[in-house]
Every structure is written in C-alpha cells, then in structure tokens.
C-alpha cells in the first residue's frame, strides 16, 4: 500500500543547514526519512545528489521553504463587493510594494474563511518575496534534483504545526494567542498567532550565528533586539486585541540550543516560555530522534496542502 500512497518531501533551506522530511500522507502523516544536510555539502553537488537519488527524493513532490528578510506578509480587508475583485486588489497592492521598494515580487494570497462579526468584511492574506531571491532558492533546489510543487511560507508552515498542536493539547486553547519566536541562524522571526491569523510578523536581522564566540556580551547583543521586538509586539497586540489572552511563548529553531538564550528569554518575557520539544508527546507520528525545534518549519511544510479544507 505504501508504494501507492502519496509521498511528499519537505525541504527547509536554512542559512546554516538544509532540513529534509520525507513522509506519506494517506491521510495521516507517516514520516519515512528525515535528515539535516550540512550547508557546506549542499553547496557542492556530487555526494548530495547521490544521496537524493538513493532515497528516491527526486521522484517526490517537494515543498520548499526558506526564510528571507524580503518576505512581506500582509492582510487586506475586503468589503462586501470587493470579494470578486480579489486578484485585482492583490495585484494593485503588490504593484505598490514593487514601486515603493523598487523590486519585483513573487506573491500569492489566500482568502480567510471567516468574516468580521461587526462589518462582515473578509480578509485576504498575501505573502510576497523578492523575485530574484525566490528564484535563486528555487533554481538551487532544482539543481540539487528536487521536483518542486510549492514554495511554502515558513511562518505559515509553523502555524500549521501549532494548529495541529492546539487540536491535541488542552493546555493550549485555540481561543488564546501565542507569541512565536523562530531563532534562526542569521535572522530571528517573532510574531503572534491568534486563531488562523498571524499578527504583525517581524524579522530581526540577528541570529545565533553571532553567538559563535560564546561571550556574555555577545549573548546580550543577540537578546536585546529580540526582547525589544517581543515587548513591542505584545504591547501592540494587547492594545489592539484587548480581551484575548496571550499567555504562552513558543520558541523553536537552532537558537534554542545556544547557551543561555532560553533561560534569558524565560526570565525576560513576562509570559510562560517553552520550546517546541516540550510538546513532542503530542506528535506521536514524529520519530523519537527528530528534534521539533529544528524540524518545526519542515514539519509544517509536510502539512502543506494544495487544497486545504
């Protein structure tokens, strides 16, 4: 039966390593392989291509995800009569970005199902990324022998994982908001998740790469901008969404393992702080050796659907 099941491959092209998960979706997820490819190896071709061929990755539908500071995620509010004009409105919005930022963008949008209770407005979420950067990553993945079906937005990928976690974990109610910290190698992303939405995602251009020296000053230099952004984000969210509880912060990414980072964040952030591995019991389909902090985004891309319910 496994041979006829739909196999998917999620590829997270990070700045430090590439993470890969091969899985079967039929419809429950069963992870077949997972692995981390060192960045140095991914820049070469010989061994990696053999590895990809050996595991037959080049036959699988691959969902690629990567993070870049040029990623823009915005919400567009639509009035009643505007729903039929969504493609046009999104194009206009993107044209504005392209003119303002003097850069071409690849973009996509999705229409959220729920309507605003007060005015009946619907919301379209748009994601755009620099065209040259997007194609650079895509071409790199194709050169490595992957067969791409989608380029996923990493923050949305993690939202899928979080949604899955909220369905399974009673301690994380779906009516609460959650602060998310993706502690990457070159960049850190902070955002607040609330129901199906991502509130004001911010990319901070510091990553755990700067901690490679290991001194206390470096840790401070790394943490200060992150903590400042988190505080500002939480304040803004509390102000604009009064009454919605924000009690939990969830961190993931390689930065979680940098010495002193998690305890410092735990002390400084006024809400409960956890990393993704603390919730691994809620993911029985994830193999015991698979680190959810490192594979969080990648696992989210496994959950990517062309036609989501």
């Amino acid at each position: 039966m496994l041979a006829f099941s739909r196999k998917v491959l999620a590829l997270d092209m990070g700045n430090h390593t590439y993470k890969i998960i091969a899985a079967v979706k039929d419809p429950d997820i069963r992870i077949l392989h997972y692995g981390i490819l060192p960045w140095e190896e991914t820049s070469g071709t010989g061994n990696l291509m053999q590895f990809i061929r050996k595991l037959q990755y080049h036959f699988m539908d691959t969902v690629l995800s990567f993070h870049h500071k040029s990623m823009v995620i915005r919400e567009i509010k639509l009035k009643g009569g505007e729903e039929s004009r969504i493609p046009e409105l999104v194009r206009e919005e993107m044209n504005r970005y392209q003119t303002d930022l003097n850069e071409k963008f690849d973009y996509d949008y999705l229409l959220l199902p729920e309507r605003d209770h007060q005015n009946g407005q619907r919301t379209a979420v748009t994601a755009a990324i620099s065209r040259s950067i997007n194609r650079e990553y895509i071409d790199r993945a194709i050169r490595l022998g992957f067969r791409l079906t989608a380029v996923d937005v990493q923050i949305h990928a993690f939202l899928r994982v979080l949604r899955c976690l909220m369905d399974r974990c009673r301690e994380l109610p779906s009516h609460s908001a959650y602060l998310m910290l993706d502690l990457g190698y070159d960049n850190t992303t902070v955002a607040i998740f609330y129901r199906e939405r991502i509130f004001a995602p911010r990319v901070i251009p510091v990553g755990c790469r700067c901690l490679e020296g290991g001194s206390a000053d470096l840790t401070e230099g790394y943490l200060i901008p992150i903590l400042r952004s988190c505080s500002s984000l939480m304040d803004t969210f509390t102000y604009s969404h009064a009454g919605i509880p924000l009690q939990q912060a969830i961190a993931y990414g390689g930065g979680v393992y940098a010495r002193g980072v998690c305890p410092a964040l735990q002390d400084q952030i006024s809400i409960e702080f956890s990393d993704m591995n603390e919730f691994r019991d809620y993911f029985p389909e994830v193999p015991s050796g698979m680190d959810l902090n490192l594979y969080g985004n990648c696992l989210g891309s496994v959950l990517w659907k062309e036609n989501a319910e």
Partner: protein
C-alpha cells in the same frame, strides 16, 4: 481554501522529465504485445470470421472457388483410380509372370526339376523333385536371395528311396519390388 504557494507559474506543471518519458515508453512497449496478441488479434480474427459468415449468409451456397476446388478434387481422385487400375493390369501382365517364372527356373540347382507351378493371386506353389535335400535347400536359398518373393518356405518334403525328395514350395510375391522395377 488553499495554502500559500510562492512557486511561480513558470515552474509549476513542467513537462515530465526525460526519465519519466523513458519509463512511459518502456511501459508502452511492454504493454503493447499483451494488448496486441491478447486483445486486438482475437478481436480482429473474430470480426473477420463474422464478415465471412455474413458474406456467406445471403447466398446460402458454397462460393464459385469452392465449387471449382471440389470438381478438381473429384477429377484427381478419378485419375488416381485410373492409374491404380493401370498398375494392377501391368502387374498382372504376361511379361510380369514370365519374369517370375524365369526366376523360378534360373534359381534351380543342377539336378532339381519342377513338375508344377500353381499361382493364386500373390501366392505361388512350386512342386518338383530333387536328387537330395541339400540341393533342395540350395534352391530355397536361391529363391530367397533373389528377392522377388517376400517370403519363401517349404510346404512339404517327401523322401523317397535313394535320397531323392519330392517337394512343394510356397512363395509370396513381393509386389513392392515388382513396382519399383516397373517404374
């Protein structure tokens, strides 16, 4: 609702890669004999048979070619019968019998004599006398060695005084050899 996809259109739905094409080709080539000999050929044969039956149905009689074939067959059989009759006549011709008589006579050792030759179809009975049984045995061997007879055997020997014997020989003619000699 779908998930966001930033893969540009030009990268989506690309034509299948070379190896897929090769796989497809191999699959087609391996399936073709099965389809052809397993399904198409029987169907074709069946439809041809149907056509033949439908072509025959309006007349209800054999075709001109079949009639012609039957007539030819009948003629051939008739000719074969005639040839067989001629051969029979030839085998029973006086020349044939004279040759056989010559064989019977030429095979006689000195002193052995024949009193009577009786012929019945393919069987020849020779009666005679010999000065002794040694010469008679020689006569018997000579006839056998000649090969004109399929079988030669002594029917009866009657010893008289002074070692003389009277005999009755029994021979079956070998028609095969006779035919070969004739042809």
């Amino acid at each position: 609702m779908k998930d966001l996809n930033l893969l540009p259109r030009e990268y989506q739905g690309k034509p299948p890669a070379g190896h897929w094409f090769v796989l497809f080709l191999i699959l087609c080539l391996s399936v073709w004999p099965v389809v052809n000999y397993g399904f198409l050929n029987p169907l074709r044969t069946r439809s041809e048979k149907k056509q033949l039956v439908s072509a025959r149905a309006p007349t209800g009689q054999p075709s001109v070619l079949e009639k012609d074939c039957e007539a030819q067959q009948a003629k051939l059989e008739e000719w074969q019968d005639r040839v067989a009759a001629f051969r029979e006549m030839e085998e029973e011709a006086p020349q044939s019998w004279r040759d056989r008589c010559d064989v019977l006579m030429n095979s006689l050792p000195h002193g052995v004599s024949i009193q009577e030759i009786t012929c019945d179809g393919t069987t020849v009975v020779v009666s005679g006398s010999s000065p002794d049984d040694v010469l008679l045995a020689k006569y018997l061997r000579n006839l056998k060695d000649n090969g004109s007879f399929a079988e030669v055997r002594m029917e009866r020997i009657l010893y008289r005084d002074n070692r003389e014997v009277a005999f009755h020989l029994y021979g079956i003619l070998d028609f095969q050899k006779t035919k070969e000699e004739t042809s």
